[in-house]
Symmetry: C2
Subunit: 364 residues, 2 copies
């Protein structure tokens, strides 16, 4: 934690900013260890105030006091019974803060306006800052990679146990429930996102919500699942066909797998993110299915299941060693179904390290 | 839906606004039926563009196309492969929109700045608007109240089934899993929030996250649970003591129940929300436990599990017939435990209608 705070402090000093107000929950946890859970962006479980010099503060309300004290012993913990702004109005001058940055990409417009108004009253400058903590978070330390590796291994464990029991007739929503239950039984904090189980035509929706539709033989079945272990996320997708797959399924499956391997092969330190997306997309485009692969190739994973860097055709930034990304091409055909395969890899100097061991995509 | 759209359109016309961009997911569903699920505020499943005159539009990306078409047949559905702003830059002028409102309480500061920049380029005025759709949503129609009643009934059904099986030794997290599974088995879309199961000292945290701690006899056990059925939420809290409760538990339990009944008795059309909070709080204050009741008395429930109106000491607005609120006083004592009781009621002209039938709080 202390190393992380030092980096933020140094960055604030370089920018001549006296303190950063952290509102993004994963950034909050990254810097303080505090894992209080927000109910959406409008009901925050707390904020960090990180001065460039001096002690870091955790600001929260009485509901979270005990948890904050337990998890963030190095922080000064202050409650705001009258709301955040009333507290800041007193706290900022008392800490000698003249210029405060807030996270513009995780602060509501109405909140930012209220913050500006309060700051004007006490003669403090306010600046929006985007992605400062996220940029540090994108490159993982060896310790973080071990934690992610454990999260991936547990997730595969759950998948394998469920995979053995798969049978036609069970509904998507029931299967999703079994998966999420097993995650908790095996010690996960929670699923890292709502598990996707999409069968038959439902699999044509990349973000399908599990329905009461029963699984049937011969159809594509997409299972996209992940969990949180010690704060770190995993994320994996497999496509399964119960019974005998037809030729179309086998051909498309192989095509998606080929695209995934091409994407993975393109990854190394220094490569532009968009080029990785393109390497996988080219395989699918060349086979004539480009219109059926509508989303980006992948995304960073860490404390958040979706974080920097994005592997999309619009991201011109370079990948760096220590980043952890998913590679998940897909083909979705309305009224037929879909195929998506998703693995996680660590970006290394000359290539990647695979985080997945599961090879279920080779079984058809 | 059409009545709802008419109200919004009339309101826009009165304000001389040409269109409203809806980003808040529950508002989106309320007006369009579209239930696409966002991954946090930064990864939206789509936006509505509601012109004061002319057809309503649903803007989304390819992942959600099929779902949008199925759920929102009356909307013009347009995809934004290049992102929302690029689409708006073309769409707004083509619809003759000169002044656009956005939801300032559900738009990120950085997004609002980008929106303003784009609008300046095409000579369109932008205004932030707060709570327009939420205000309509706060007062429910008879149809909506029936849906909420069904959600509450199913939630009580789940609770009763779980209550019968409660025994010392089972862990909080296991119990939470059983509850959420049963919700799905019985036909719920999903839990309306992460189920809280907090036992012993954990119950002193109003927003405790279920842990691997096993339930024990004689301790307070708080179960706070709710589900979503046909889009509408339920929310209920019960406090249970396995085995023989001691005198302190019984006394505090009765005190919280008395405060709850006092709060409920204070509710009717025209009453200021803060007065209802005060009516319940006075009971707890007078008994000397005011410092141990740190949160507001309740909140509205509908498509969102937390929505307007808030029953807090800071809300000076009047309650109106048709609003649905929770009444949930609590007492939380560090190192000991906590007691919270939560029911849902409909505000009526001369009082309330109870939505809960469960009377488990009378059993000790």
């Amino acid at each position: 934690m202390n190393k992380r705070l030092s980096k933020i402090r140094a960055s604030l000093k370089r920018r001549k900013i006296d303190a950063l107000l952290v509102s993004q929950p994963d950034n909050r946890r990254y810097l303080s260890g505090y894992s209080g859970s927000d109910h959406g962006i409008s009901e925050s479980a707390g904020f960090l105030l990180i001065p460039a010099k001096g002690e870091p503060h955790l600001l929260t309300d009485s509901r979270f006091k005990l948890q904050a004290e337990k998890e963030s012993a190095n922080f000064v913990i202050t409650l705001y019974p009258g709301g955040l702004l009333k507290l800041l109005e007193k706290l900022l001058p008392s800490l000698g803060i003249k210029k405060l940055a807030f996270e513009s990409h995780y602060t509501l417009y109405s909140t930012a306006l209220a913050l500006e108004k309060m700051a004007a009253k006490i003669n403090i400058k306010i600046v929006g800052l985007k992605g400062l903590v996220e940029n540090f978070r994108a490159r993982k330390t060896a310790d973080e990679i071990s934690l992610i590796q454990r999260s991936v291994a547990l997730n595969e464990d759950v998948f394998q146990e469920v995979y053995k029991q798969l049978h036609p007739g069970i509904t998507e929503i029931k299967l999703a429930g079994i998966i999420e239950n097993l995650m908790i039984d095996k010690g996960a904090e929670q699923p890292s996102f709502s598990t996707i189980v999409a069968s038959g035509p439902n699999a044509a929706q990349p973000h399908a919500v599990p329905s009461h539709r029963p699984l049937r033989e011969g159809e594509t079945l997409i299972i996209d699942m992940g969990l949180v272990l010690d704060g770190y996320c995993s994320d994996m997708t497999r496509t399964i066909i119960l019974g005998r797959p037809d030729k179309k399924s086998v051909d498309l499956f192989r095509l998606v797998r080929k695209a995934q391997l091409a994407g993975i092969a393109a990854i190394k330190d220094g490569v532009i993110a968009a080029h990785v997306d393109l390497a996988a997309r080219k395989i699918i485009n060349d086979a004539g299915y480009g219109d059926y692969f509508g989303h980006g190739l992948g995304h960073g994973v860490g404390l958040a299941v979706h974080e920097a860097p994005s592997l999309s055709s619009r991201n011109r930034k370079k990948l760096r060693a220590g980043m952890v990304v998913t590679v998940e091409p897909g083909i979705y055909i309305p009224d037929w179904g879909g195929i998506r395969l998703e693995n996680m890899v660590v970006v290394k100097k000359n290539g990647i390290k695979n985080l997945n061991k599961d090879m279920t995509f080779l079984d058809i």
